[in-house]
Symmetry: C2
Subunit: 188 residues, 2 copies
């Protein structure tokens, strides 16, 4: 049986998830999360011992969402090439958010990497889920030797595109670069 308070807990996590993405972790206060979720900030400490622990819950939530998305892609697309193309389609589908706030994984890792490396290592799990999945798809494509390096290369390309798209607020650049990556995947 699920305790009643888990609804409140989820509301806090959902509000924090969006605010940490849009405004950054350190720049988001409990007061803002309280306003967005409608739950008094004093109540937060019943569910989380600290702000760090709330961030860990947000990261766990994101990891779970990513894993569910990848399982769905695996079920929907039979070939690894189609799955990789679906991965790239994600960039175009989230064009507006990407242009405004950058990649949720890249921006969070960069922020935490400065002076909160303990939290950053937890945030790395998001990257690793994607990298592992990409490596599996590249393995299935028959690039048996250096698929891990190739997955890292592809992720770096995507992160670079996301960063420049966000910095220049330029979705045209995003579309052009994703089109190039599509051709690159087709020729793998």
């Amino acid at each position: 049986m699920i305790a009643k308070g888990q609804d409140n807990r989820q509301s806090i996590v959902n509000a924090a998830n969006e605010l940490f993405y849009r405004r950054g972790y350190n720049q988001t206060s409990f007061a803002e999360i309280a306003d967005a979720s409608g739950i008094p900030k004093g109540n937060f400490y019943y569910y989380f011992k600290s702000k760090d622990e709330l961030l860990e819950a947000v990261i766990a939530e994101r990891v779970q969402q990513v894993k569910a998305m990848l399982v769905e892609w695996d079920a929907q697309f039979p070939t690894p090439r189609e799955r990789l193309q679906r991965f790239l389609s994600m960039l175009l589908a989230s064009e507006e958010e990407l242009t405004r706030h950058g990649c949720p994984m890249g921006t969070l890792n960069m922020e935490l990497g400065k002076i909160q490396q303990t939290l950053q290592s937890r945030a790395m799990e998001m990257f690793e889920v994607f990298i592992n999945w990409l490596t599996c798809q590249l393995d299935a494509l028959g690039h048996g030797e250096e698929t891990s390096a190739l997955a890292m290369h592809l992720m770096a390309r995507v992160q670079g595109i996301s960063l420049m798209t966000h910095a220049y607020s330029d979705p045209v650049f995003l579309r052009r670069e994703v089109a190039q990556l599509r051709n690159w995947v087709d020729q793998l």
Copy 2:
């Protein structure tokens, strides 16, 4: 004649420059800059009206350093291809700092892009100096049509490599990817 206080001003800018890079802008307090520079924080407001204005001075300092570096490269290397290779060499030369703190331009822009877009637009000047210089080199190489897009593409590759190198603390990835970019530049 230069007023005596300009030495103090430069000391503050230098300390802030390094701390903003290593710890981030919002995560660096005046108290830390005072400790690092040996100048009491109350004195800061004689030279800068606010923390934002200090950041603008730091950005101006970085822009000046970048411009001086590019002029030196232009003098040292006669061909555009050599200059582009020198640009890539910079990544290897700053391997340790890049692995630990990421790219100074990319990390600052990402941080400011979240909720301080006014300051971020000032920080974009660093990117633009590089992009303009890269475009000039690509023009000289005879890629007359889409050199601006090509310069953005190259910068995005570099930013992606920097981000992943920093996230994974993996200089091996950096070296491998830079080697690929070197070949890419040679075949332009």
